[in-house]
Symmetry: C2
């Protein structure tokens, strides 16, 4: 009988091993995709793309034992050569090629020039050729950064006693109700795709005290803007036994601090490649909704029309205000009007026309919505009645409250929006591997 | 201006702090849910449920300054009392109560007896009262174990150079095609819910070399069995530059070893509570599909009807065989017949009627399907043609191959099934917070 033991002896080097210098002067093997070929006549530079960078290989006529003509960009190969120190090479070392073994061939020349630094093409062309455009080093670095954010979110919350949950995306009804729901038939029953794990994460606070989820959400919003996606990844948390809704904002601040350090430590090459300036997170200002409106209106001389909501332009001005006045990329805007928040939001006892809620703006764009929720069963029923809503379909949600729930609150972060602002993109589609919008269901 | 700094000073203790002994003899405060009240007359035991266990609190008539009658199971409270060593208490310490402040009230008595060890009710009743049944310590421990598995999967793969991806669940078409798809209308276009991230993770191997995803998948299978869910969490990985499909099995073995150690280290209380015997993973036998069938048929005298597939009963017998003969809870069954595997599976060059693929059986149940994929564009087109399939709708998938893809393979693990087998449940619904099946869309 044969057995698997969990170990594979690898016959080829990774980039870290090449950079270590341990292989200087030795014959080594490297695998990767042919990213670029620069043919200078008797000499050619062949750049191999690996998951964490490029390996520069040198073809020399007469010394390399293969035909340069057999290689094409897009092929994947195993290259064998002598590892030599070279300060002009991106790794500090290069490979003087002896042999190249082709592992797989590209059938055609690539439709995009992916190997010239920044990909010089339209967003549409990038998205229409996603399997190729992401092979550009800068394009793919965006999603390494995105990994770092998600990883930071989870690791920080594990350290804070949160439990990870997986809640269903198919349901008979949805948390917030109303429009914006994708509907489908589920074995002859009407069903919807969840636009948020809101109800489920609240119910689970009664079980685990603190929970989080990182999962897709679905919104059938008929918006076609630079900041909307119809499917996105939501980083959700919900925490019990809070005294004040500022604790939720402090938890998010702690996450941002943690993620920043993780990115600096583990994703430095990607930060450098994308020239990302990490935001300062030691202290994040918070300001009331009405006060934020007033401050920005006064400073920038723009009268505000809607007293109950922030328009995108207002968000941008408030962001600018706190950038200029407090040198802060972030600002928590608190106490949103009750009529613009869902029924489960906790109204401010000091003035019930406002809620104990907040948005986080990052460089002028909302990336988080959160707040304290109602935990009292009767209060919840009264709010539902006051809004003229029905409790039909909410029986399971309400049961959690009927049998006792701690004071709690939470938030949801749009992963793609947070990534977009961090990398300085002007369209959220740049921060989604395969974005879904009004017109795009493929690839 | 006020600022958030990411720190919250907590005025109440967590279980680890109580257990440390640092507070012996001191007045402390603890928050939690009233899990059980055992009234003995002049003395009462009040068990507070926190995310990581129970705190035993003692009410003494005349010494405790509150009325026991005001408390009900399900209430959440802040209890203040003297921390005393007591070997009979689950933590080794208990609280002699002075005051209790009620944070929130349960409106009604709980519909299930959640505080008597094992929850003695039907699966249906548990699922119909999910917000309450999960408050049982054993029920909720299942999902802490599940967290450990998912966390182990991700952390191990990060350490192996994998990049985490988020692929869309809404699409115009699906990877494997055919039936079993939930269909919906997406802004006047027909759309489906993805039954697997297969196409996307393969495309991303051309970008990141190694990728993984932990996300929901949707299968409109009309099965009502103890092992099927219509929505489940799939742990997917895909890895490039492999020499042999055994490397994929070694990667899974490495994950199982890593996850086992993580569970032992971080989830010991839950393992103990559920009396889980962790499986041995130092070496996992692998056996060919046809050989496995033969071995089990011979030993257990059961003739096999279908030469192309394993029936559930056969899986159980093969599992039993390797348990008895090799003391192994796991067995990799390899070389499934080509006609039962999807078009992208790599056929065995030695005999193309079989594939370089595998399933992992855990205690007699399939928990993983994986294998090597075709990386060559022409070979892929030929296989599609040979099967009489159309390439319509596969343009983006095929483009990845047209422009070069490394040799690669991967696998998908059913998280709920793996959890189910680990905890020894006889129904996969026990291992889903909110299972979705033919008849269940709520809660």
């Amino acid at each position: 009988m044969e057995f698997l033991t969990g170990t594979v002896k690898k016959e080829y080097l990774e980039i870290g091993e090449i950079q270590s210098g341990d292989y200087e002067g030795k014959s080594v093997r490297v695998r990767g995709a042919v990213h670029a070929i620069r043919d200078m006549g008797e000499v050619a530079f062949i750049l191999l793309r690996k998951q964490d960078g490029l390996v520069q290989c040198i073809y020399e006529e007469g010394k390399s034992h293969f035909s340069l003509q057999d290689l094409r960009e897009g092929d994947t190969v195993e290259a064998e050569g002598i590892c030599k120190k070279d300060s002009r090479s991106p790794l500090g070392f290069e490979l003087r090629l002896g042999f190249v073994k082709i592992l797989s061939k590209a059938a055609e020349p690539l439709p995009l020039k992916i190997n010239r630094g920044k990909l010089n093409t339209s967003l549409e062309a990038k998205l229409n050729n996603r399997a190729v455009s992401l092979r550009n080093l800068r394009e793919r670095a965006v999603f390494r950064i995105q990994e770092g954010i998600t990883r930071g979110f989870r690791d920080f919350l594990y350290s804070q006693g949160f439990t990870e949950i997986h809640t269903p995306k198919l349901g008979a009804r949805s948390a917030e109700g109303g429009a914006n729901l994708f509907k489908l038939e589920y074995f002859h029953q009407p069903a919807v795709l969840q636009q948020s794990p809101q109800f489920y994460k609240q119910m689970m606070v009664g079980v685990f005290d603190r929970v989080f989820e990182t999962a897709p959400v679905f919104r059938a919003e008929k918006h076609s803007t630079r900041r909307h996606l119809n499917e996105y990844t939501s980083l959700d948390l919900e925490m019990g036994y809070i005294d004040d809704f500022t604790e939720i904002m402090d938890m998010e601040t702690g996450f941002l601090q943690y993620a920043g350090k993780l990115l600096e430590r583990e994703y430095a090459p990607e930060l450098a490649l994308l020239e990302i300036r990490l935001p300062r997170t030691e202290r994040i200002p918070k300001v009331r909704f009405d006060e934020a409106k007033r401050l920005a209106a006064e400073k920038y001389g723009r009268p505000f029309r809607n007293p109950f909501d922030l328009e995108p332009e207002e968000e941008a001005l408030i962001g600018r205000y706190f950038q200029e006045e407090y040198d802060s990329d972030f600002v928590f805007v608190t106490h949103y009007p009750s009529q613009k928040r869902p029924f489960y939001a906790m109204d401010d006892p000091a003035d019930p026309s406002f809620t104990l809620s907040f948005d986080l703006l990052f460089r002028g764009l909302e990336v988080t919505t959160g707040g304290q929720r109602i935990q009292d069963y009767q209060m919840l029923l009264e709010k539902i009645e006051k809004r003229g809503m029905e409790t039909d379909g909410m029986e399971h949600y309400l049961a959690a409250f009927r049998y006792g729930m701690p004071p709690h609150g939470g938030l949801g972060i749009g992963l793609e929006r947070l990534t977009m602002q961090l990398i300085g993109a002007d369209n959220v589609r740049e921060a989604a591997l395969f974005p879904r919008d009004l017109g795009r269901l493929e690839p």
